[in-house]
Amino acid sequence: MRPLRMAISNKGRLHKPSLELLARAGFPIGEGLRSYVVKVNGLEVVLARAADIPIYVHFGAVDLGITGHDLVLEKEADVYELLDLGFGWCKMIVAVPEESPINSVYDLPRVSRVATSFPRIASSYFERLGLSVEVVEVEGAVEIAPRLGLADAIVDLATTGATLRENRLKEIAVVLEASARLICNKVSFRAREREIASLVERLRVSR
């Protein structure tokens, strides 16, 4: 049988802490790797985009993955979240221009437009509040959308609030808080129960 496969983030804020966690658990991988797949102590580590990891795990292309809880929700991946890894904490917020009179989501225009790279989370958030909002999906630089008149508000991640201030935006609501999770394919979890349990234990104590 092939070795267990785990996907971790190849760049961004989850990359370094994921590598460090794996190293502490006995799977040291050198930094600055160019290849996508690295074998270390019987574990195949796949470097992938954090946003793609829930999909890899959902379809069983990899058995396990380290990615943000927010991304698991956004991709609606049907996977197990076995460990809260504690790092990569962030919150997803609704923000509007600083000078705007809007101070809560209920102040948003009756029909408003929101730019985000998390369309599913944003839609269900506003739906739950009973607000009719048109969600526009953008891949990046979400913060400039209100200035350009593309949207009245944005839904985006904010760790420190620095990016918001730079773009003269203010937070009006928190959509969710999320951290990095160890996720697992539901079939692998059963088919390779023992191997996965022992790996999870190693990661749990190395957190």
């Binding site: 379809f59 079939v187 059963r190």
Partner: protein, 402 residues
Amino acid sequence: MARLGVTWWLGGLSFTRTPRGTRDLVPPYSEAFRYVELKLLETFTLWGYREVRTPLFEYLESLSRGVGRGLVQSMFKAQDDDGRLIAFRAEMTAPVARLVGSKMLKESMPLRLCYVSNVVRFKERYPGYPRELWQAGVELIGCRGVEADAEVISLMLRALDELGLRDVKVDVGHAGIFKRLLALAKLADDEVERVKGFVSMKDSTGLKRVLRGSGCSEEVVKAFEAVCEVRGLKVLDDVLSLVGDEGVAELAEEVKLLFKLLRYNGFQDKVSLDLGLIRDLDYYTGIIFEPYTPAFGSALGGGGRYDDLIASFVGEEVPATGFALVVDYLLEAVGVEAIARRLNEKKRVIIVPMSYESYQEALSRARALRARGVIAELHLVGDLEGARAKAERTNATLEVVR
């Protein structure tokens, strides 16, 4: 512009495509598909199950009994000429329950029924998933005892084994125990949905947050944590020592008996208990289960006990249990090539009559071959070259009739 998609740019014609999530099947795929269906029906038949067929579309109110809001929302719907809403079936248990409740209650129980049917959804479960699937399943009706659950689980394992899937594992849960624990937690409706979500993701962090937030006792929180994290029969005692509820205790005995009966069938290494197993249909009342194989990334199907569903059609209580396997998934797990190889073992002959004078002779040779169970295909008159090429490509023997 967006509505056009990119079809026009790629030079494709929209009317030659089929809608999202549907597909055409061509040989050898279609033949392998039929092979899986027939193999399953053969096994079901040997266990005494008899095939039923129900309409492709029915009144929405019949199809939506007990299946839960999510599935009702994802059904294709239309209005009938009398104004009533009809829907296309999205699963097979509700149609069979309606059929049994309305027409078959006079039959001697237990009643064993099976089917192979296509089911469709307006909204797929996950982007890129099919919207039309074929389900092969059984329903065992009129038996309250746990031996019925053991029978359908055993039959499912047997049927998968017959297809050549040797490394199947089955997870068993209990909808009744889960509902009882939810009742003990006294949650609001939206909290129930959140708890189900967290349990199905095995996210005990989120789970504990919701339960503590709604003021559950620490015992109930710990019991849910066990449901989430502990696999195997041990979880029953863990949960009982925490909540000590009579209802749970009774159902736990049922689960223990089920595992004992499955051991009699030699399936002890194939089944494991996971009380955190949640199926996305509402009608389940008791033991539920899902089969998995490492060769496929999600469950191959699933099933369970639904003692109240038939009653919702006729008022008379009729206990029942059953399962459905997704033929499309099974085909992927077994591999089309593996099945095609099995099918190609049948001998195949291409007969080419070289002129219309020899046509009669060619016909009689074909007839003789077919009578012996050999596939005989008549080629175009005089086209020796084409016949040769085709014979080579399809691994057939060539017979030239001059």
